[in-house]
């Protein structure tokens, strides 16, 4: 076994534990890798790399960039410019026995916090086609939830790296999924856990803009602190 390190050295090392890369490093390295690697699902790229060659569409960096662009648009005026999207809040924590069926209820607008969605009365099923659509949506939601369960479990273990792996997977598979809000909250907590405060803060700012009435906002604020945007939220 090894003895604990001297207190002064341990304190010194604590300040060097931050894991960080410049904000644009991922995009730059990703762009170079995309030219060197075969496209996802493809059989290998034998053509010479070209500076203008498109990057693989399935690469997470693109998904992230697209998600950020969409998020920014929605945050600035999406509620006015776009038809209302279904919002699904994933509230329970089904890590123990079989979770209840999808806790998904369509909403025309953001719900006031504190309201349990599953307590709302259920509308009767109108047509068989609507019912089929609901089944498909429920299956998608179950798949989304399964991915986020992995993320949540990892976060519970203090495993931020694997939390981000799972939220990254969710981001790729369900860029417009019903549980985006849940995913973002988990990712923010994981980033903060890794000491990547700048990244966590930036993602939290986008979260506030995109989900200004989120029930998860207090949890996000508790991790990164409420930024300037919180003042706007309170107005």
């Amino acid at each position: 076994m090894i003895e604990p390190l001297d207190d002064d050295l341990a304190a010194l090392l604590q300040d060097a534990k931050t894991i960080a890369a410049p904000d644009d490093a991922k995009a730059r390295v990703h762009a170079r890798l995309a030219l060197a690697l075969p496209p996802p699902g493809g059989g290998g790229n034998t053509s010479p790399p070209s500076p203008a060659a498109p990057l693989p569409a399935g690469f997470p960096g693109w998904a992230l960039a697209a998600a950020l662009a969409v998020g920014a648009g929605l945050g600035l005026g999406g509620s006015l410019l776009l038809p209302p999207r279904e919002r699904v809040l994933y509230i329970d924590r089904p890590t123990l026995p079989a979770p209840p069926a999808a806790v998904a209820v369509a909403q025309p607008s953001p719900s006031p916090s504190g309201l349990r969605l599953e307590d709302l009365p259920r509308a009767p099923t109108a047509t068989p086609s609507a019912s089929a659509a609901n089944v498909a949506r429920g299956e998608d939601l179950a798949k989304e939830r399964a991915v986020l369960d992995v993320a949540r479990s990892a976060l519970g273990r203090g495993d931020a790296a694997n939390t981000l792996v799972a939220t990254g997977e969710h981001e790729r598979k369900f860029p417009q999924g019903a549980l985006v809000e849940e995913r973002e909250a988990l990712a923010i907590q994981a980033l903060a856990m890794q000491g990547r405060r700048t990244d966590a803060q930036a993602r939290a700012d986008r979260f506030r803009k995109r989900f200004p009435r989120s029930m998860l906002l207090p949890a996000v604020d508790a991790v990164v602190g409420s930024g300037t945007d919180s003042r706007e939220r309170d107005l």
């Binding site: 799972a166 997977e169 890794q194 700048t198």
Partner: protein
């Protein structure tokens, strides 16, 4: 690694690892003495190699020690080139914590530079064990597995590395306080 990676294709697994761990590889390379201007090149090289070897990754093991082994090998090759011999580490470390006061932030950056300079004085083989254990908080068994050395050797290297680090910190601190 996590169950999250188990059912993925190798390409999806690589993408997920890149997305989650680029910053870790970047930071590890910097800790291992790669200069700021070369971090992008070496991070690219590391992930190319990770892509080639992704099939050998055991998802039951933590990802970071496995990635560190790549970073360590590339950094070792890099340092063998005379033109890359360590100059002054961490000339411009990124500001990563917006919360502390300016004084505290300055102190943190100074400490980080001091740590990285002192790590640079540790024998390279011991350096890997030291970084994995003291900065990444990796269990010794995982360190031994990642570096393909016996656990007792890992402990031995850590003890020696601590001595070297302690001495280096003293020397570097004296340099800083010298008028």
């Amino acid at each position: 690694m996590a169950a999250a990676l188990v059912d993925m294709s190798e390409r999806a697994r690589f993408d997920a690892i890149f997305e989650a761990e680029l910053a870790y590889v970047w930071t590890s390379l910097r800790r291992l003495g790669v200069q700021e201007r070369d971090l992008e090149d070496l991070s690219h090289d590391v992930f190319l190699e990770v892509y080639r070897r992704i099939g050998t990754y055991d998802v039951a093991r933590p990802i970071r020690p496995w990635l560190f082994a790549f970073a360590f090998r590339f950094a070792s090759d890099y340092r063998r080139l005379a033109r890359h011999r360590r100059e002054v580490m961490g000339t411009e470390a990124e500001e990563s914590d917006p919360q502390p006061t300016a004084d505290r932030l300055l102190q943190m950056k100074q400490n980080q530079h001091l740590v990285e300079r002192a790590i640079g004085k540790i024998d390279p083989d011991r350096q890997a064990v030291f970084i994995l254990h003291e900065l990444d908080e990796t269990p010794m068994a995982e360190i031994a597995a990642a570096l393909d050395i016996p656990v007792n050797t890992a402990y031995s290297r850590l003890r020696l590395a601590r001595d070297e680090f302690r001495d280096a910190v003293k020397r570097e601190s004296r340099k800083e306080t010298r008028p």
